[in-house]
Amino acid sequence: MTSWYQRKRTRELALVACFLAPALTIFFLYRLLPLGWNVLLSFQSWSPLKAAAWIGVDHYEEMLLDDDVFWDALTNTLIFIGCSPIAIALALAIALLVNSDLRGAAIYRTIVFLSYPLMTVAVGIIWRWLYDERGGFFNYVLRSSGVIDQPVKFLQSFDWALPCVIAADFWQVLGFYMIILLTGLQSIPQHLYEAARVDGVPASARFWRITLPLLRPSIFLCIVVGILNSFTSFDLVYVMTNGGPGHATELLITYIYKVGFGQSRFDYAAALTVVQFLLLVVLTMLANRLAGGNAGSLER
């Protein structure tokens, strides 16, 4: 008896292994090995032509004590990730509006999603023009409507630059968030709402006690995409402000790119990569606990 069960068990394990194998090889080759390479390199001083010399934690020391650009980039990245809940809230509001039995909801949904398939480099070019001090659209609207007389220097001012880049990123990613939340909304069984309505539960209470809890898995998915976004929007920051003015919009990912390829210091860039990876792991665990402890629906 047991041998048949064992044979069935091992056959099933073999099947699982061979089903997982292709995806795992891709991630092993293109994610884990590079991460291993970066971790190994972050403890060495190496350049493409010099032999690697083990230097222990010098890079991390330099990063934490000496390098104030690192701290600027870290705070900017945290602000960037910290703002994604605002985008998620906005997307939730739009999803609620579009989800209701509004005529033409499909058209609104398509319009809001239109911006996602656009190349991020193109989004950077367009928004750099929108914010332009002279011929930009925002300044034109503000000046012609008399709200301001002198044009506002959006991307050139130290305190406006980061919010503007975040707004441009919202514009592109809002559609994707909306779609995720919209589908979450559409799968909440209607009878829950009927029952609540019959009991005279006000709309706001229905939202807080039915819609939001049942939407938690979709919100977790949005938060994870928001965290990923802090490095997929590398092209956006690179094209719009290239980290300027000064280091006001420098994200960790643009700083890694500048240190690695601009200054050809791959060992220091590897140390920065390791620190960024650890930061993102911590943030994902936090989001996981926030979204109900079991990584939402992703890992049940």
Binding site: F28, L32, L33, L35, G36, W37, V39, L40, S47, P48, L49, K50, D66, V69, D132, E133, R134, K153, L155, Q156, F158, Y238, N242, G244, P245, G246, H247, Y257, K258, G260, F261, G262, Q263, S264, R265, F266
Partner: protein, 416 residues
């Protein structure tokens, strides 16, 4: 399980790099040529390559072109993989950084063996790529900064000739400003703004490039005056925040008095500013004839499998007939003395204004500044520029900005 897997994967990987034979099978006589954003000259470059391979049987030249910001990414990756392109076209100080890293082959012995070749080039431009006494690159196309002055704006302000010193620049800029008009604009990438400091006797580093020498009372005064001029609108703030498109666009609109930029900016602006002609735009040297060079050089990678063939290709590209065609189609000066003389003569006949502009590129080449032969130029630049910019935009006063800049530049020099 994950930690063990991480270590196992890292060990397996380092083994992989050791035996990473280049996958591209190198046919016996093949070299690769990496250019910096010359994709619009595809037809001409393919023609020159055809001319080179036709006269040398069994030779192939693979041409790769990348946009400016992507050249370092591509070249660094190829270096790490051990298959660097044989001949590379690199801009300004980045060439010195690759030389310092040992990525470029030393050309001094080749010059010694072939004195006539070295004689071809303008010696001051050639000297830009001498690192620790060794030549690493030859000029491909050269330029340095000059002062464009908008004659109409100058006439409106009652002036008729370009400023002769720093005070006159600020005074002229102050007279011209007003409403949408601003007095002066400058490019700021790759130290192009440095003549403004040099004419006041402020240099970044000592002669031995070891100690920062810019924290002086004079420098403080210059920075304070520049910051005040920016605040008042005499100097257009785009000078400190723009890159390439924004400042050129602003000057092309016609309401900026002066622009400090190099010759390629002229051809870009000419396409955008219909108002530009001989009577509305003047080209002159900056006061004290100071100028920061921004040139492209050709170098040979040390990892090249065919160094002699690569050197032959470099000589072919920079000899007179190919260089002549290149300078005519791209309207650039090539650093090859005979070619530049001929192209200047042609422009003098066809386009007097362009002649005025290009003439400044070959005059006073002994007064170049902002071209320290540093192995870590981009790190020193990234240390100095944000502080200078903060001072210009009024976020820091000149004293603290210079103090912070000195601390960070000194650290970069120590770490080199």
């Amino acid at each position: 399980m994950q930690r063990r897997q991480l270590l196992r994967s890292a060990a397996a990987f380092s083994a992989a790099t050791v035996l990473s034979a280049p996958a591209i099978a190198q046919t016996p006589k093949k070299i690769s040529f990496l250019t910096w954003n010359l994709v619009h000259l595809e037809a001409q470059i393919k023609g020159w390559i055809g001319g080179f391979t036709a006269s040398r049987p069994g030779v192939e030249v693979e041409w790769i072109d990348k946009k400016g910001p992507e050249v370092p990414v591509y070249y660094a990756t190829q270096l790490a993989a051990g298959t660097p392109p044989d001949v590379i076209d690199i801009q300004g100080a980045l060439g010195l950084e690759y030389a310092a890293q040992g990525a470029l082959a030393d050309l001094t012995p080749r010059f010694a063996a072939d004195a006539a070749i070295k004689g071809r080039y303008d010696q001051d431009y050639l000297a830009n790529w001498v690192f620790e006494g060794k030549n690493y690159m030859v000029p491909y196309y050269v330029s340095k900064t000059l002062l464009f002055w908008n004659k109409t704006r100058f006439k409106e302000a009652g002036l008729d000739k370009p400023p002769a010193n720093f005070d006159e620049i600020l005074a002229a800029a102050d007279k011209i400003k007003g409403g949408d008009k601003t007095g002066m604009l400058t490019l700021n990438f790759d130290w192009l703004y440095w003549p403004l400091m040099m004419m006041n006797g402020v240099d970044l580093l000592s002669k031995d490039l070891k100690t920062p020498t810019f924290k002086t009372a004079k420098a403080e005064e210059v920075l304070t005056r520049l910051a005040a001029a920016t605040k008042s609108g005499a100097i257009n703030p785009i000078s400190w925040t723009g890159r390439w498109v924004e400042p050129n666009e602003a000057f092309a609109t016609g309401n900026v008095g002066m622009l400090q930029a190099h010759a390629p900016a002229f051809f870009w602006i000419k396409g955008k500013g219909p108002w530009i002609n001989g009577d509305t735009l003047g080209a002159a040297q900056m006061p004290g004839n100071w100028a920061t060079p921004n040139s492209h050089g050709l170098g040979i990678s040390k990892g090249s499998k065919q160094p002699d063939l690569a050197w032959d290709f470099v000589k072919y590209l920079t000899d007179s007939d190919v260089a002549m065609q290149f300078s005519r189609v791209a309207s650039v000066l090539t650093g090859n003395k005979t070619v530049d003389k001929a192209i200047l003569a042609k422009f003098e006949k066809d386009d007097p204004l362009a002649f005025q502009v290009l003439k400044t590129q070959v005059e006073h080449t002994d007064k170049m500044c902002g071209n320290w032969r540093l192995g870590n130029d981009s790190r020193v630049k990234d240390a100095f520029w944000p502080e200078f910019q903060s001072a210009m935009l009024g976020r820091k006063d000149a004293k603290t900005a210079l103090a912070d800049a000195e601390r960070r530049v000194a650290r970069e020099l120590k770490r080199a």
